[in-house]
């Protein structure tokens, strides 16, 4: 079974939709077609799923898009701080020999 849904580009960028879709990779595959101001999505479900189950997943996908959008906002605001110290990690390993 296939289900279609579209999102306005000014509301949700393609990256947000892709991240939301990834979480359902075990339940459905998805085709994205950006056209004009819209991103058209076709959700392709396994034949074994009932119509009701497919509708449920579509609903979950829409909720996940909202969550991913929120995550994107957090990520953008906190990007500089997130790039904190990792350099210390391998500092005392004795793996570098003196020449």
């Amino acid at each position: 079974m296939n289900l279609d849904i579209s999102f306005h580009k000014s509301v949700y960028p393609l990256d947000v939709l892709k991240k939301a879709a990834y979480r359902f990779i075990d339940s459905f595959s998805i085709d994205f077609i950006p056209k004009d101001n819209q991103i058209y999505c076709t959700l392709n479900f396994n034949e074994k799923l009932t119509d009701k189950q497919c509708e449920y997943y579509l609903d979950q996908f829409k909720k996940e898009v909202l969550d991913q959008d929120l995550r994107e906002k957090i990520k953008k605001e906190t990007e500089p701080i997130r790039n904190l110290v990792l350099a210390q990690a391998f500092s005392k390993t004795n793996l570098i020999k003196d020449e």
Partner: protein, 482 residues
Amino acid sequence: MSKFQTIDFYKAPKKNYHLLPFRFSDLAKDKLILTNLVGEYFVTEKKILEDLVHHKLEQEDPNYKALRSKHFLYDDQTSVAKDLLSIKYKTKLNRLAEFTSLHMFVVSLRCEHSCPYCQVSRQSDDKVKYDMSEEVALKSLDLALRSPSPNIKIEFQGGESLLNFELIKFIVEEAKRRETNKNLSFVIATNLAVVNRDILEYCKIHGIHISTSLDGPKDLHNKNRPRPGKNSYEKTIEGINLSREILGPDMVSALMTTTEASLAYPKEIINEYIQNNFNEIFLRPLSPYGFAIKTKKFNEYNADKWFEFYKEGMEYIIELNRNGLEFKEFYTSIILKKIFTFTDPGYVDLMSPSGIGIAAVIYNYDGEVYASDESRMLAEMGDKKFMIGDVMKNTYEEIFLSDNLLDPLEESFSYSAPMCNECAFENYCGCDPVYHHAVHGDFVGRKPESDFCKRNMSIFKYIFNRMESDSFVEQLFMSWIQ
């Protein structure tokens, strides 16, 4: 016009706040968990999260203060938050600089058991073919003692390690003879079938711990662990009692493996541990390696079935504690340490970067070096993806800088893995490149399809929901951290 000002007039002037990096995941219906960069957590509802992200949270709101104190946001009053976060982050990663504390020596692949889930053992009398030589042992010891870690634990593995006890003695004495500034400790992993007083007296002199296998009540244990005489259970219990008599009660620990036959008996298995005076159990799922795959044992249950087993066991353990018996579950206590402290317990499966090579390394009987115990199990299936060198051919630098170690470490780092990088539980989880390579064919795997992810997510949610819903459980879990 009203004679009174509105409530907003009397509120403190609104100050701007800034978000600190954090992630969120669903915990239960209408409940979310937020975790910051170092794993401090905050359980809340969607409305609060949205207010927080859209900068609508009022300073007077108790949630604001809680979020500020837990480093989810900072304002003019708490500009030090960034520095504190940085220090905590460094502390969490500190273990990386002092790497490889666990060194496993496979002293023999021979074993008198024929367990269908076993990954590595051989029923053979061929000592030359399947026993580690002194030459290989010495080279392995050279490598072990070069590790930056100040604490070196040497664990003797098999097969049945006691079938080559002479080599164990050789390695222990050689390690102690060498002048190092390392804190050395020794563990023998054994089924105890061939243990005797002389062996244990030697262990006492040298402070060697015993780690054995106990799968549950007699019928289940003997079904899981067949040996000639069909008396594995009796041998194990006899061995545990003798070990405790000679070494003391704290020097003996036991591990169980969950087979499909175990799934219906969590309470009985836990009771078996209690009857034998253990104060903890590790409800451990079967690894998808070696003979476990060949004999199709691994596919007999999935993550959901195992989680039901774990949950039933945990509820029983909680009730036992409520009734005054102190008893804990090992894996849960590891996760709780990761949740509530900044010290990483160094458990290989729950580390990112992965613990392979960093937390543990294994020297096989033939001199081949593997990045973890699971890696050599995979090699027994013909897949040497995680073989990082050979003690007879390679230097320390060649082994610990080999692509077979660094590639999976780098690629599987969960902070940059799809879905893990946005998961609120990432700080408590691991990445296990060996599991994902064995099951999914690459070091990362697709997390929605990964049983490793499903199993750990279920456990994390269970732990937080139980702590949120029952103050006794919260206190109990806090006590498991010590």
